[in-house]
């Protein structure tokens, strides 16, 4: 169990967090324009269609940008550096997340590197975090 802020789902975001609790990354896709989008809402931000569906996505992503946070907020009750990252899913949407399973050093973090989703318990929720496919 990691310590830190716990997300509280709303009716529109609940399927995302329900998926995470079941070990699945679920993202919405517009049936009309076929684009995946994030964050959750019951209509498509690109074409305004109401015809949208939740899809289990691959969980494969690439590292788009990151910081190594040497001054974690007090909510984490730890001074350990955090890798806070922006990752782009194979299906298109970008998420803010943590990179885990690797030491927080720039040499270990190459933009474009392949990542795979994992789920970490936090309070009554599970957070989607990402691990390098190859270390």
């Amino acid at each position: 169990m990691s310590i830190g802020p716990i997300p509280e789902p709303t009716p529109e975001t609940a399927p995302f967090w329900q998926g995470a609790a079941e070990g699945e990354l679920r993202i919405q896709r517009c049936i009309r324009c076929e684009s995946f989008y994030f964050y959750p809402r019951p209509f498509c931000p690109k074409c305004n269609s109401d015809e949208v569906e939740w899809k289990r996505v691959s969980g494969r992503a690439r590292l788009s940008s990151y910081i190594i946070n040497y001054r974690p907020s007090p909510e984490f009750e730890s001074k350990d550096p955090q890798i806070i990252a922006l990752v782009t899913l194979e299906e298109g949407p970008r998420l803010c997340t943590n990179i885990v399973g690797v030491e927080p050093e720039p040499d270990n973090l190459r933009l474009g590197m392949e990542l795979q989703v994992a789920f970490e318990p936090r309070g009554d929720q599970f957070l989607p975090v990402f691990k390098p496919v190859r270390i």
Binding site: I68, S73, L86, V129
Partner: protein, 387 residues
Amino acid sequence: MPLISPNGGNIAIVGASETERVGVVPDMSMIQLHADAARRALKDAGLTPADVDGIATAETQVIEVAAMLGIRPRWMDGTTIGGCSFMAHVRHAAAAIATGQASVVLITHGESGRSWVGMPNYSMNPRGPDGQFEQPFGAIAPYSLFTLPALAFLEARGMGQRDLAEVVVAQREWAIPNERAQRRTPVTVDEVLTGPRVAYPFTRDMCCVVTDGGGALVLVSAERARDLPSANRAVYLMGSGESCESVLVSQMDDLTSFGSFRRASAEAFETAGVTHDDIDHAMFYDAFAHLPLYMLEDTGFVGFGESGAFHAEGHTRPGGRLPINTNGGGMSYTHSGMYGMYAIQEAVRQLRGEAVVQVPDMKLSFVQGVGGLFWSAASLILSNQAP
């Protein structure tokens, strides 16, 4: 009253002042910082609170500022879009004055960002988009959010951490002679790079200072400005723009170029009817060192990938061809949380010929603001030439 254009110099800033003190001001609450700045700006204009019929501020309730000063307005603007709110207020006030909805508009900022006196409690909302999709991962403080796309920007251009340090070094030169500035020690690129780590690739001096302070502006029509004792110091609004994108950094349309900078600045240049070559001076809201790099490129002053060299070659320093952040910027001068007001104040001082480090032969200043953490943007083009 006949309708006039809000652009082209028809609207004037006739009063402008920061709080008497900026930096560490533990003996003033947030609302008193607003009031101190407001009363000084009105005095600067040769006006009193009784003359004000329009009022704008951000974050703090407009009502609280109006009540504090005994103002009973007929026009209010509480636009709160982050630290560039004040650029947006100038733009909105110009439209209000141009259409007769207000005749004397007061815009105020006050923030006890360092001493936290009379400030609301900081709170997170775990149900908001940020509370669900950013904060659980540690992206909470500005240094852990605003900084997130920087490596993508740098890598796309073959630039790196040194380019961030060059921005700090260039801006520090402006702050060294400025007694109101927080960081006044000369620094080298290597000293910046080896400074205390905050959030790789950012070291301490690549992050803004945290201070107390405030500022205020008074706007009237250029026609009315002619009758005020401050007439010969009036600064005119030539053009402006504003835009927004997302409240989540992860949802920027492009991590390597901020669309809101492009849209807001394009409208400012179009409405002002001037070109980049006409601009003598720029204020680029710099909460962190990557922002002047994004802004230089996104607002069209330099081409793709040229922003780092432009700093390193000295073009933004005293004597350079585009002096930038001539008060030292948010990273060296002051930054109470919403820096936009101080950027406008410095542009006004430069155009009036009253800056601590004065740029010679000033006619046009470009001011680019950013709101939140790549949430929003607003741009102003200001002139000292009466229309």
